[in-house]
């Protein structure tokens, strides 16, 4: 017996999830799903199946429909469910399968880290007002989302000395060499978070992230240019690359 959302978009696959019921896990993941998809203004093109595994890192599998997401959390660690699931969902929403290997892939990882922090911060408020009924004492738990996000943000930003563009200029080589550098992608995410919390519509442009071949962009500035070029000029979406440029790059 798995637990599937009413619209069939999310299914929590049975397994050893600890003391939590599948219904409560589904409710937590659904609230994260609603928060991020509403910010993106888009939904995944296929249902998502979420399974528990006992490896260290969560993962979304390439080339499978329904999408298969594996989470490495369990029991009633609701913030960690939100954190891991939002990260993997962001990969899905940004079309992670289209260009798998390129030097700017760290940016997608940073955005996914940002998605996790963004959803946690938003749910901290949302659960106070509209706690999911299937989650026991969700309203009382809500502040823990904020604390979980804050502790990660603070840990990431503690490693930055001086202003952010200088830090970025000194560290972009390491990011390009290792896209899974969680400390550095975390710094980028924490730096972008205030703007995305202020203007959630910035997420809309992220749908187009993997819609061109980034291998043609030798530097990150060029990557942002290509991203901009693919965005409709008549909307507001082109603000996103420019905002990111303004935060990360030295003018």
């Amino acid at each position: 017996m798995d637990a599937t959302s009413n619209d069939g978009r999310l299914t929590v696959v049975n397994g050893n999830w600890g003391r939590a019921s599948l219904a409560s896990i589904l409710a937590v993941l659904e609230s994260a799903f609603r928060m991020l998809t509403s910010a993106f203004g888009a939904r995944p093109d296929a249902p998502i199946h979420i399974s528990r595994w006992h490896q260290e890192n969560p993962q979304v599998v390439f080339g499978q429909r329904p999408y298969q997401i594996f989470l490495s959390t369990g029991d009633t660690h609701w913030s960690q469910y939100v954190f891991q699931f939002s990260h993997e969902l962001c990969h899905v929403l940004t079309g992670f399968e289209r260009y798998r290997e390129h030097r700017h892939k760290w940016f997608e990882e940073s955005l996914c880290e940002l998605a996790s922090l963004f959803v946690l911060r938003r749910l901290a408020d949302d659960w106070k007002l509209q706690p999911p009924s299937a989650v026991c004492q969700a309203a009382e738990f809500a502040p823990n989302h904020q604390m979980y996000a804050l502790s990660r943000e603070q840990r990431h930003l503690a490693s930055v000395r001086g202003d952010l563009p200088s830090w970025f200029a000194a560290n972009i080589g390491k990011l390009e060499a290792n896209r899974y550098d969680r400390v550095r992608t975390g710094v980028v995410a924490a730096a972008l978070l205030p703007r995305f919390l202020q203007e959630p519509s910035l997420w809309k442009a992220c749908r187009r992230l993997n819609s061109w071949d980034p291998n043609g962009d030798p530097v990150f500035g060029g990557y942002l240019d290509s991203w901009c070029a693919g965005l409709p000029r008549n909307g507001l979406e082109f603000r996103t690359p420019e905002t990111i440029r303004g935060i990360l790059l030295i003018p």
Binding site: R19, T76, N144
Partner: protein, 522 residues
Amino acid sequence: MSRRWGFYGREDEIGRLLDCFRRQRWFFGAIRGRRRIGKTALVQQALATHLEDDPRGRRCLMVQLPDSTPADFAEVFRSTANQSGLEGLVPEMSEARTLPAIAAAIGSLCTKGVIVALDEFQTCLRGPLRALPSLLQSQVDYLQDIETEGGIIVLGSVQAKMEMLLQDSRTPLFGRTTFNLNLGPWDLRTVFHVCNLHRAHDPKRFLTLWTLFGGVPQYWRHFAEIENIDPIPDWRDWAAEVCASLFLRTGAPLHQEGEMLLQHELRRTSLAILRVVAERTRCSYADLRRAVPEVTSPGPYLKTLIHDLRLIRKDLPLLAGDGARRARYSISDPFLRAWTAALQHACMAARTRPSAEVARLLIPRLSTLEGYAFEELVHLATEEVSSAGTSEFPVTAPVGGYWKRPRRGGEIEIDMIARNEGTRRVRFGSCKRNPREHDDESLASFRRHVKRFLQTDEGKRFSKWDQEWALYSPRFPPLQRGRLETDGWICRDLLDFRHRLTRSDAGATGAFVVSDKVAGRG
């Protein structure tokens, strides 16, 4: 009682049960664990959580097998089914007056999706209910051949008997179980959590309770239910009141618990051996032979107590081979150790003397036991923190002590040795229940013992490793800690372990619906 009792720990075990329930396939499971370890609560909690996923609910019948006749069992079976609202579910229920009819009713209930849990299943190894396993076998074999959502869980508290019933190839139910759960004591993380919730966060009090209960949930629950114990400021008065309330007063919840535990299995000679081990806390084979001269060969009894009943533990010095002749025997269950070494006599004395007076006389013995319990606690905590991934000293091998008494003198006794083969680090530890005992003389002695160890065959490999010298106590006064650390000692106390075990990168734990039965509401 400061707060309502809940369901603590057991994340993996309950997850396994829920995984099984949700599969909606036939199952035949076994849950083993000592008396009071929480087998029934585990099943009840899993069923309560499962209700959230399947609002139709899995109906469950939990029957405790009585140690009496089939007719009595039939009475218990029908009455429990009646109370669970299952009496009319299958026609066989009204006919359940003999063992074959009970087995048939169990089978029919399972075909209706009911989970039947048979508690104290070890009862049917011998005696009037011994035909039950064979009768169940035919039901189990039938049920696994048809598509049914029901299941049978057998629960038992005597490990050896359960193993004989389910794992001996000559028995009817051999090879039938679809899952097996061995329920051990709570892990330390859970015990620390429970202590924080139920007013025992002071390390000294934690150690006392650990010495008395180990990780057995029901005993902690009894402690949590003692009224008006918080305001007692002095540890001695507090410990005396805990002992009096739980063990010594007439009607105290654990007044007869030790006897019940021992009566389950032990014969006279085994009991005599157990007592010798308890009185000495740790003893060698030679000690045993001297103490029980009427038993010419304690070996077979020891084997039963160690391997079959798991009441006694055989420890060897760390790094000594299995064949080493320096084994020490000790009681493996903290409650049983405290009972046989101190509480049993006190309970008897309390029949003729005021319980408060007996409790006060018990304290010195309890303090001695705490010393041994603390050493074990440090071993356990070092391993558990390492496996939680929050350790400053991750270990790659079991943590233990070392001892050697050469004939020509130069005794070696080291409380704790932890090692990491990968980084070539070794940590030597000295454990003292009272931090003041880490004095100059004790530190010099500790150094001498380690130096001798490094010259032994087992120890010389560590002479070129990074060596760390650690001192352990339940709680170090800040001044003393500062002084010792300035001198290069590593000081660790129970607060350090608690911090490392309860710190979680997984974030806060959300609440969950606790079963009414577990919480004592139904």
